[in-house]
């Protein structure tokens, strides 16, 4: 009885809503997760070659570094609603609009962090590997990338968390995962739906962050002992980049 009334009373917190619309919430969450996952993965696939392009044979910045970093910064400046709208004529009303926009945003952080990670590889380590007869590919794969991993993973964490938040804006083309529920909830003034979807969205971001933190610890055990909190934030190459929220 009291549960029924929380829907009619339009309460913020409503167990009955979660029970009766569980399927809707699950569908939205699943869509949210796959859009985020696909975007970050494609972002990584594109960011790696771009970061390599920005380096020359000796590991210094190449002449492409400026244009690559400049372009990704410009893309990052474009507000998300505008980005998705500009992609609309290219892809029509589809998930591709949202994924493409999110990939373009993730590039900024990913390229910067991958590049910073590679640049932080000690010259001695590179020279030792070259002296041992490593080829360029093997040097990259077996020496440089493992050493760059902490910075790369830090970038993946930042990119993933902001992608989770940004996916909501995809609601404008109907592919916003939980964002679609939030916007629909606004139209029908359905408070429980808006609050529940918002909370799940934040929880998703936190869960993704913790998961990636765990992965980071697992893959780069050598970074564990040092680094008090403030230090990790400061050594991240993009400490200043705010949330890409709009």
């Amino acid at each position: 009885m009291s549960d029924r009334s929380c829907l009619t009373a339009n309460d913020w917190i409503c167990g009955e809503y979660v029970r009766s619309r569980g399927q809707e919430l699950t569908d939205a969450t699943v869509q949210h997760v796959w859009i985020t996952l696909v975007s970050v993965l494609i972002g990584l696939l594109i960011a790696f070659p771009l970061a390599l392009l920005a380096r020359d044979r000796d590991g210094r910045r190449s002449r492409f570094a400026g244009p690559v970093l400049g372009l990704t910064t410009v893309l990052y400046t474009v507000p998300s609603l505008a980005m998705f709208s500009l992609l609309l004529p290219v892809f029509g009303l589809s998930a591709a609009v949202v994924v493409t926009g999110l990939v373009l945003y993730s590039l900024t952080v990913l390229v910067r962090n991958i590049l910073a990670g590679l640049e932080a590889v000690p010259a001695e380590a590179r020279e030792a590997a070259l002296g041992m007869g490593y080829g360029r590919g093997r040097l990259l794969w077996e020496v440089e990338l493992p050493l760059a991993l902490p910075a790369v993973l830090a970038g993946v964490r930042i990119a993933t968390v902001s992608t989770v938040a940004l996916t909501t804006v995809g609601a404008i083309v109907g592919y916003g995962g939980l964002g679609t529920l939030i916007v629909d909830g606004l139209d029908s003034l359905f408070k429980a739906q808006v609050l529940t979807a918002s909370v799940i969205c934040v929880l998703l971001a936190v869960a993704a962050d913790l998961l990636l933190l765990g992965l980071q610890r697992l893959l780069t055990p050598w970074t564990r002992p040092r680094a008090p909190r403030i230090r990790t934030a400061r050594t991240a190459p993009v400490p200043a980049s705010a949330a890409k929220a709009g």
């Binding site: 998300s80 980005m83 004529p89 400490p239």
Partner: protein
Amino acid sequence: MGAIGEAFAWLASGANWQGESGIWNRLAEHLYFSGVCLLLSCLIALPVALWLGHVGRGGALAVNLSNAGRAVPTLAVLVLLTLTPLGRQGDLPTIIALVLFAVPPLLTNAYIGMREVDRAVVEAARGMGMSGWQVFVRVELPLAYPLVMTGLRSAAVQVVATATLAAMAGEGGLGRIITAGFNTYDTPQVVAGALLVAVLALLVEGVLVAADRLLDPMRRRGADRPAA
């Protein structure tokens, strides 16, 4: 591309610039909101961050605030605020949301900027007999300036973007041209609105970069610092 051409045709039509939902009015709304909120955010965040940086406290707060800001979807905050009783207070929800998202980059960058000032330089200044205030104004502030400006730039771009999203929660601003276009299945209008928003964001960033160069108290540009 056809869509871009149609969007330019939409922009070229004088009728679309006039009236309450015209471009001029929407642009004015957008600039008004953004300006007021950026100013408010600076007034809130900078004194706190600079003071915390000066005394060297609250680092965890300053850094975590920025991380938290990343995880919270702007759209959700806008919609939630609109549905609260505050939503009946006109523009108040939008202003609160804009300030909420502009404060973290300002606070974090200004704080880190202050803390990154070489301790040896601060010690030397103290040794020369400078008071706390003199150290702050003549040593720490000029050295922290680049990161403070980076924070200001992030915040400004953030505010412009958030003001765009406010349209999805029923507010004015340039984003309204986009959402109105979506409602009437008018793709040229959507693209035209998006172009306006993108150009505005890039202009704001560009103007602030230029201002940054002009105003930098150190006036030296050695190694390129990461533009975030």
